[in-house]
């Protein structure tokens, strides 16, 4: 097909006298007009290679190689008996599937569900958390071998698939066997397929798609007589299923779709030009057959995988934080009872931020350490009584029954409890009263604690019991009509349905929140500010819970809308996309695409007990496959140049077939390689594996052409197609050499014993950065030592797997409750607050510990004790103690100080280019002071340095976890 479209492009010259085309593909009516296509779309030089008709001899060879592959892939698969690299993630996902806890991952679910299935069948109960690399499997009895078997079997299957694909593309049996052999002994593929990772399933599905597509292409090229026959339909449908499966493992499958899609477009274009056989009706039949098989089938398959995914994950889990409230309300126990629709003055409401999943507007009895030093306002993701606000009117209500003249108003926030509820309308001025701390939502011209932007103000809780409030407590409701649901909800405040902005009346700024975490003193909750000119989505809030004493039982109720499967599916896709694009943090073992084809660097997967697993390819196979790609590109460049100079290469069938067949494979390689250049996210060597599979195919096809099909090379060098022995001997030697190289690097793949010397001997490149010093000097030393148990794990781990907005779900499912001790601390005087944090650490008094479960409910001592006896609970401290200021002193004092210090900063800010360094401001006057450096106190430094030396760098580290990313600020 490619040569055909080429020759049709060449048409102006094909009528030139020096060319003697084998088959004329264009005609020209008059010299004034360009020639137009006229041909039969059947390709010359193509025979039916349908592998469904493979000879039994070939099947025996396939069987033999597969058995070898089984041995190579499954050899000591139990080794190592601890968590390796991304098993941290994918093993962990299996646990979550079994528990049904919702999680978020950037990859679609198919391979993870298969791994789970394998684990489940082997009796895995999901009680292991796969938390850190090096964590022991044996002690908790995790059926990790069964789980590893799934990727391993996928890896084994890739071997016969390579054989069959090469057969289908017209290669000789020997070449096909050689190709399969190369897949068997590719170190990288071996390493990757022996562990609980997604790349092995990805490679096999990509390979099966390639097999189906190559077979279909063969059927298509046989011409009209083969079209729409059962074999044609079978391979077309199989391609579709393959595409669906590949895309359901990782989104890399989209590259496979692009490969098949572009070749399909080419096929259809060629069909369009065949006016002899293809009528409009037949052309559309071709078109719709492809649309059905290559678009409809994959989409159905992909969506079906997500349907199963949603069926499995019915409980809340640590992925909730990524999803919308509507989505979350479909999970068990996250759904909520219907809430009264109308919000009135005096209602107790909780406010939720619309755009981020930071949660509810929250305040707790802890102060900002900076700015006004008033009480913190944050977003907190869990239901808690500290999220409850009482809606007050601008003025207190008048009670005419007490005083008919209307001169006295009823004081206090509860004043509205006794009168008929009055709805809050668009434009109403309200005050929000925080019931548990008796303070009101407040804002003023002070910079927020983290985002020190000029256009944002701090939001705090201010006041005390009985305080009447001040003008800075007033907020105006502005309903965002375009986002509110229903006519009534656009006019007055309705629970859930109304989306609104809260405009601070005095300064005109709008209550705002964004994905910025407060530091430790704010318990890593999300920052809330008041912004002038913030983006609209981040300024929108809505009421989630609503309660009013005067509201009747039969009042109108509302609840979240059920998003339905499609709503959930689409939302999840969007979240996966943005999360994936956000994985940009650099990683100790990442690498960029240019380094892959030359195998510049690998990945450290695991290291323990003087053994190591390091992902590195078989350099011989790797480099020769890259060379094959390079060879084809050179060939193609020359071919195009010669074509433009009217050389008649394309009239030779072998030339044309080489260009098309290898070209198709190289295109597959290109589609699985070049898009990575556009990606900003962290990339690893294993992202090259699908491309590597195509590169090995290209290598074997080139080999087949050179040894079996080319008659002579440009008329100078005679071909060897009449001497099959030459090709066979050469191929055998190459394969044997590959096996030897495989053996040299095998200890890194299997985590076997090795010696320093052997390790250093095979380290060809400086950049292959596995650590030879890990290994012993000789094998004898290994037998002297017993492998350490899981206790050694701590030293190998990184803190990467922690953090994130994940709700504190209990680690132990038996007691699905999370107990939060809450320290309370008495008031501390002003001076102590000024003394700073160091003073505070000493003066820390633990007065009271509160226990709360994950819902924020207070537990009494007896309940806690009962839970303790049940076992399996975990305690975590949620709120540490900081200073608390006595509000009556007013904030004027601090605002003055604030202004002074800001004035000091401003002097530097004017001249600096990057951010202002506060330390710099202080140090400026001393520029010429010292001729010798001061002598610093270093006790702390030395301690830190020692603790570092204990943890050597260069240990294995899993890929960045998605949960971590949402925790980071707006990168």
């Amino acid at each position: 097909m490619a040569p055909k479209s080429n020759s049709s492009k060449a048409s102006p010259k094909s009528s030139a006298p020096n060319g003697t085309p084998a088959k004329k593909t264009t005609v020209q009516s008059t010299p004034k007009k360009p020639p137009y296509p006229s041909y039969d779309y059947t390709s010359t030089g193509v025979r039916d290679t349908n592998i469904l008709n493979l000879s039994s001899n070939d099947w025996q060879i396939v069987g033999a190689i597969t058995i070898i592959a089984l041995f190579v892939r499954l050899f000591r698969i139990y080794q190592p008996s601890s968590v390796v690299f991304d098993e941290v993630h994918f093993g962990g996902f299996a646990s979550k599937y079994i528990k049904g806890k919702f999680f978020m991952d950037v990859h679609p679910p198919l391979a993870k569900m298969l791994i789970t299935l394998a684990g489940w069948l082997a009796g895995f109960d999901g009680d292991f958390d796969f938390k850190d690399i090096g964590k022991d499997y044996m002690e908790p009895g995790v059926p990790y071998v069964a789980m590893r078997l799934l990727p391993a079997i996928c890896g084994v299957l890739a071997v016969p698939t390579m054989f069959l694909t090469l057969k289908a593309s017209g290669c000789k049996t020997f070449t096909s066997a050689m190709g399969a052999g190369l897949v068997v002994f590719e170190n990288g593929l071996v390493t990757q397929s022996r562990l609980i990772l997604l790349d092995s399933p990805l490679v096999i599905f990509t390979a099966l798609t390639a097999l189906s597509w190559v077979s279909f292409t063969n059927q298509h090229e046989l011409g009209p007589k083969a079209a729409f026959r059962p074999a044609w339909w079978f391979w077309l449908a199989a391609t579709g299923v393959g595409l669906g499966a590949t895309a359901s493992v990782k989104w890399v499958g989209l590259f496979t779709i692009a490969w098949v899609g572009s070749l399909t477009a080419l096929q259809l274009w060629v069909l369009l030009g065949d006016t002899r056989n293809v009528t409009a009706r037949i052309w559309f039949k071709h078109l719709f057959a492809r649309i059905f098989c290559l678009i409809v089938i994959p989409i159905m398959f992909y969506m079906a995988m997500f349907a199963i995914h949603f069926l499995c994950l019915v409980n809340p889990g640590d992925g909730d934080g990524f999803m919308s409230s509507e989505f979350q309300s479909t999970l068990n126990s996250k759904g909520m009872a219907d809430v009264p629709a109308d919000v009135a003055f005096g209602s107790r409401i909780s406010l939720r931020h619309h755009n981020t999943q930071g949660g509810y507007l929250h305040s707790h009895t802890h102060m900002y350490p900076t700015g006004s030093k008033q009480q913190q306002i944050t977003l907190y993701p869990h239901k808690d009584e500290n999220n409850v606000w009482l809606v007050e009117n601008q003025t207190q209500p008048l009670d005419l029954t007490v005083d008919p003249t209307g001169n006295t108003s009823v004081p206090g926030p509860m004043a509205w409890d006794t009168i008929t509820p009055e709805n809050v309308l668009d434009g109403s001025l309200i005050r929000l009263y925080h019931i548990t701390s008796d303070r009101r939502l407040h804002s003023h011209d002070v910079r927020p604690p983290v985002t020190e932007a000029e256009w944002q103000n701090e939001v705090s809780a201010y006041g005390y019991q009985g305080f009447e409030g001040d003008a800075n407590d007033l907020f105006r409701i502005e309903i965002v009509k375009s986002m509110s649901d229903g006519k009534v909800a656009k006019e007055r405040l309705r629970t859930i349905q109304t989306k609104f902005k809260l405009v601070h009346v005095m300064t005109g700024c709008v209550l705002f929140s964004h994905k910025v975490k407060l530091p430790d003193w704010g318990f890593e909750q999300q920052e809330v500010t008041c912004a002038r000119g913030g983006t609209l989505p981040n300024s929108v809030w809505y009421v989630e819970s609503n309660q009013h004493p005067q509201l009747q039982e039969d009042a109108e109720k509302v609840n979240y809308r059920d998003p339905g499967f499609f709503g959930k599916f689409w939302e999840l896709q969007k979240v996966m996309w943005t999360t994936n694009a956000g994985l940009v943090e650099s990683h100790a073992w990442d690498s960029r695409p240019p380094s892959w084809p030359v195998l510049r660097r690998g990945i450290n997967f695991w290291g323990k007990d003087n053994r190591q697993i390091y992902l590195i390819g078989n350099p011989l196979i790797w480099w020769s496959s890259t060379a094959a790609i390079g060879l084809y590109l050179v060939f193609k460049a020359l071919a195009v140049l010669r074509w433009q100079r009217n050389c008649d290469d394309y009239s030779y069938d072998t030339f044309k077939r080489f260009d098309y067949e290898v070209g198709q494979t190289v295109l597959g390689w290109a589609f699985h390689y070049f898009p990575f250049f556009l990606m900003q996210r962290q990339l690893f060597l294993h992202h090259y594996f699908p491309a590597l599979f195509f590169a090995i195919m290209a290598l074997c096809q080139t080999w087949d052409f050179v040894t079996n099909r080319v008659g002579s090379f440009g008329g100078f060098v005679p071909g060897v197609k009449d001497k099959p022995a030459v090709g066979m001997v050469g191929g055998t030697v190459f394969l044997a050499a590959s096996i030897v190289v495989f053996g040299l690097y095998a200890p890194l793949a299997y985590g076997n014993m090795w010696t320093k010397n052997e390790c250093k001997r095979v380290k060809l490149l400086e950049t292959w950065d596995w650590d030879c010093n890990t290994f012993h000097d000789n094998y004898a030393q290994y037998s002297l030592l017993t492998p350490s148990a899981g206790s050694g794990a701590a030293a190998q781990t990184s803190p990467a797997a922690q953090g994130g907005p994940a709700p504190p779900v209990a680690d132990d499912p038996k007691a699905d409750v999370h107990v939060t001790p809450q320290h309370q601390q008495p008031y501390i005087s002003d001076d102590a607050a000024h003394a700073g944090i160091s003073g505070m650490e000493d003066g820390f008094v633990e007065e009271k510990v509160e226990y709360r479960d994950e819902e924020g409910n207070l537990l009494d001592e007896e309940q806690v004790r009962a839970l303790e006896e049940e076992g399996g609970i975990s305690f975590s401290t949620k709120y540490e103690t900081r200073t608390r200021l006595v509000d009556q002193y007013g904030n004027e004092v601090f605002e003055e100080e604030e202004e002074e210090s800001r004035a000091g900063d401003a002097g530097v800010a004017g001249t600096s280019i990057k951010g202002v360094d506060p330390e710099t401001a202080d140090a400026r006057g001393e520029a010429d002071a010292s001729a010798v450096p001061p002598n610093a106190a270093v006790g702390e430094d030395v301690r830190k340095e020692r603790s570092l030396e204990a943890n050597a760098e260069g240990t294995a580290e899993p890929e960045s976890e998605v949960g971590k990313e949402t925790g980071r600020d707006e990168l």
């Binding site: 102006p12 009516s29 004034k32 007009k33 360009p34 137009y36 296509p37 006229s38 274009w269 369009l272 030009g273 006016t275 983290v450 932007a453 256009w455 705002f512 964004h514 912004a531 000119g533 913030g534 983006t535 981040n538 943090e585 650099s586 990683h587 100790a588 073992w589 990442d590 100079r645 009217n646 530097v908 001249t911 600096s912 280019i913 990057k914 951010g915 202002v916 360094d917 330390e919 710099t920 140090a923 001393e926 520029a927 002071a929 010292s930 010798v932 450096p933 001061p934 002598n935 610093a936 270093v938 430094d941 030395v942 830190k944 340095e945 570092l948 030396e949 050597a952 760098e953 600020d969």
Partner: protein, 740 residues
């Protein structure tokens, strides 16, 4: 034949006439204008006045259009006496040229130098700060400066007229294309202020014009006219790229044309190889060498003018700074560094800062004191060169010991007394590198405080045995870990005050400038003061340095995702005319300008682009299906007058879609010009063979719509005085914020 009686003014159809004599089947297309003209001449003898008008249309029409252009661009240009929109930037840069102070900006200098020139001609002394929204002082003749700018905008119109002619459009189409450029509200508005966009547009339009001229001379290669237009195209490319980097897109268009042209010549077996080589050589000279010369020359003049120290110093190398007048850098510094010297270390990477430390610690990793790179000059950048821990303690009385290539030293932070240190801990952002921290004190510490000086080059001498202030470039190699101190272009998060991350990189890349350091300031009481800045920084090094720094800053212009930016817009909004832009405050007493296009032009051209893709698909499918309809001539016309403008549009539009930086409506203006040409092509294609009366009838409607809408929206270009409610009727959509 017409070939005899046409002159070489470039306004005629000579190119086409000559084409006739060439016997090649490919490109022998002759549009019918020439023939038509002949016919008309003979036919219309009866009405001699009209005939004369007709004959001299090539002169009269452009004159009228140009006059109108100058009127629309300059009328009431001084109405608003306040600094409007980006005048705040470009006026300020102009002032820097007048004061000859070195400044730094993301755009190349040509346009801003022209602004400076206009200020010079207006007698302005450069003292005004150009603060946004401020009223111009009495002595500053801002009207003159604006007039200078608007002339560039006005000159686009005759060029558009002649370009349309060169693309072989018929007369009504030529007029329509000119009208669409002339009566385009956004073009009018943007040309009336002290901005770079009018110049950018002018040079873009002139490049397209020169290219079309060159293309039409293709049948007479190596003739003087062919050579002239080749050189003119190259010159124009050089100018457009020297105004804004957006010019590279039109360069790409000419580049693609040249590649295609040479590829076809390569396929022409009859062409002698020498001739082919000559074609390649001439184009390489015209389209590569000449633009490079123009571009480089603009920087050369830039450096010539800006000889005083100014706000942009820190972006340049230490040596460059030392050569500026009025700088502190390199003044009275001792020449050679000895143990005990106090010095600041400058990173020699593009836009590199000074090695810096402060008492704040890393929040993760070692949690020791931070090391960063920072442009701001203060005492926290000072370091002492001290002997390593194997050597005896530093003795201030001992004989001076100079530092040279291969010496192992310690660097002690002057303010905190800690040592520059690195260890096997992943750096905070670039995880693959080692972290660099500040550790210990003069007595406490270990060998991980040791750094070996590796001199890379010395601009002043071949003697590497001593490190010299300013001129010596050296690397600092960590002795224990074998890594090199590096400050790339990665900024730390807020905890590091967004300063540049400094790491120790494992790879040994001797040519990586981000690992190169030099001593910028140097104090040592025991050494005589000297003038190390006497050595001149080579021009080409400064040129490359500045360009890379510009590129880095340009990529860093990323919008704050939290901030609602009413001025910025997304590329998808531009072709749909979804938003406009308020160029100034919207108070009643301010003369208000609103940057919004002519709806007919925007929507019409956007539709034409979609339609063109449909046309392309239609003809391609019909051809593949064996419909034998278009002649070579028509294919050629379609190719050069249709596909190339559309390609120009795509090249000027799509890159903005991919760009992460903040984008504004005026980024679409060059692309709009190509869209206008495309719409002209389509109308021309379908009306060519119609009866003259019908043709003029159709086009009259288009003229009326374009001019009518321009008239309707005239106030947003010429200034809106008084309450904005007067123009409420122009607020067709909520996003057109003409009235509140």
């Amino acid at each position: 034949m017409a070939a005899q009686d046409v002159s070489a003014t470039g306004t005629d159809l000579q190119g086409d006439a000559r084409k006739r004599n060439v016997g090649q089947p490919n490109g022998s297309y002759v549009p019918k204008e020439a023939g038509d003209k002949m016919d008309e001449k003979t036919k219309q003898k009866t009405n001699s006045f009209l005939a004369t008008l007709d004959d001299y249309e090539f002169l009269i029409a452009p004159l009228i259009f140009t006059a109108l252009a100058f009127f629309t661009r300059m009328w009431k240009i001084g109405l608003s006496p306040i600094v409007t929109w980006d005048e705040a930037h470009f006026g300020k840069f102009g002032s820097h040229y007048l004061k000859r102070e070195f400044y730094f900006d993301v755009h190349p200098p040509l346009g801003k130098m022209l602004v400076g020139l206009s200020g010079y001609l207006a007698g302005y002394n450069g003292s005004f700060e150009f603060k946004s929204g401020e009223t111009y002082p009495e002595e500053l003749n801002y009207t003159y400066m604006r007039l200078f700018n608007s002339a560039f905008g006005a000159l686009c119109i005759p060029l558009a007229y002649f370009t349309a002619k060169e693309l072989h459009f018929k007369r009504p189409t030529v007029w329509l294309v000119t009208c669409m450029v002339l009566f385009e509200n956004s073009y009018t508005t943007i040309s009336r202020f002290i901005l770079l966009d009018s110049m950018l547009l002018f040079f873009t339009v002139s490049t397209v014009f020169c290219w079309s001229k060159f293309h039409n001379w293709r049948h007479d290669p190596f003739s003087p006219e062919w050579g002239l237009w080749l050189v003119m195209t190259g010159f124009s490319i050089g100018c457009v790229c020297s105004v804004k980097w957006v010019g590279f897109f039109v360069t790409a268009l000419v580049g693609l044309y040249t590649i295609e042209d040479l590829w076809n010549k390569f396929g022409d077996l009859k062409m002698p190889k020498v001739e082919l080589a000559a074609h390649v050589g001439f184009r390489a000279f015209g389209f590569i060498v000449i633009p490079l010369i123009v571009y480089t020359a603009s920087f050369w003049v830039h450096f010539m003018i800006l000889e005083n120290s100014g706000p942009g110093d820190a972006q340049m190398s230490s040596l460059f700074q030392a050569n500026l007048r009025g700088t502190e850098v390199g003044k009275d510094s001792p020449l050679e560094i000895a143990l005990g010297s106090r010095a600041t270390l400058k990173n020699m990477g593009y836009g590199g800062g000074l090695l810096h430390s402060h008492v704040q610690t890393y929040p993760e990793g070692s949690q020791q004191q931070q090391i960063t790179c920072y442009h701001h000059k203060d005492a926290n950048n000072d370091w002492f060169f001290y002997p390593n821990r194997h050597q005896p303690e530093f003795d201030a009385e001992a004989p001076l010991q100079f530092i040279g290539n291969g010496d192992t030293i310690r660097l002690i932070h002057a303010q905190t007394g800690r040592n520059l240190h690195s260890h096997q801990v992943a750096a905070p952002v670039s995880k693959a590198d080692h972290e660099v921290s500040c550790y210990g004190n003069t007595t406490v510490g270990d060998t991980k405080d040791h750094w070996q000086v590796e001199v890379v080059s010395d601009a002043a001498s071949n003697d590497y045995s001593k490190v010299r202030t300013l001129t010596t470039a050296f690397r600092l190699k960590h002795v224990d870990l074998n890594c090199y101190l590096r400050a790339g272009n990665v900024n730390l998060p807020q905890w590091g005050f967004k300063q540049i991350e400094t790491t120790c990189v494992k790879e040994n890349k001797p040519r990586d400038p981000y690992t190169h350091w030099n001593v910028e300031s140097h104090w040592n009481e025991r050494l005589p003061a000297s003038d190390p800045g006497s050595y001149k920084s080579p021009f080409f090094r400064d040129f490359v340095h500045l360009n890379v720094a510009m590129m880095t800053s340009n990529n860093a212009l990323v919008p704050d995702p939290d901030k609602q930016d009413d001025l910025a817009s997304k590329p998808w909004q531009w072709p749909l005319l979804h938003v406009g832009l308020r160029m100034c405050g919207w108070d009643d007493h301010i003369v208000k300008y609103f940057l919004l296009g002519n709806p007919a032009v925007y929507w019409g051209t956007t539709f034409s682009l979609v339609f063109f893709v449909g046309m392309l698909a239609w003809y391609a499918i019909r051809w593949q299906r064996g419909y034998d309809e278009l002649t070579w001539g028509q294919v050629d016309h379609f190719h050069y007058s249709g596909i190339y403008p559309v390609m120009g549009w795509a090249l000027h539009y799509l890159p903005f879609v991919a760009m992460a930086r903040v984008t504004y409506v005026h980024h679409y203006y060059p692309a709009l010009y190509f869209a206008i040409l495309c719409s002209g092509f389509i109308l021309d294609w379908y009306t060519r063979s119609l009866h003259k009366g019908v043709q003029w009838g159709i086009f009259s409607v288009f003229y009326a719509v374009v001019i009518g809408l321009f008239w309707l929206f005239r106030a947003i270009c010429f200034g809106m005085e008084g309450s904005n409610q007067q123009w409420k009727h122009l607020k067709w959509f909520d996003t057109w914020r003409i009235a509140d």
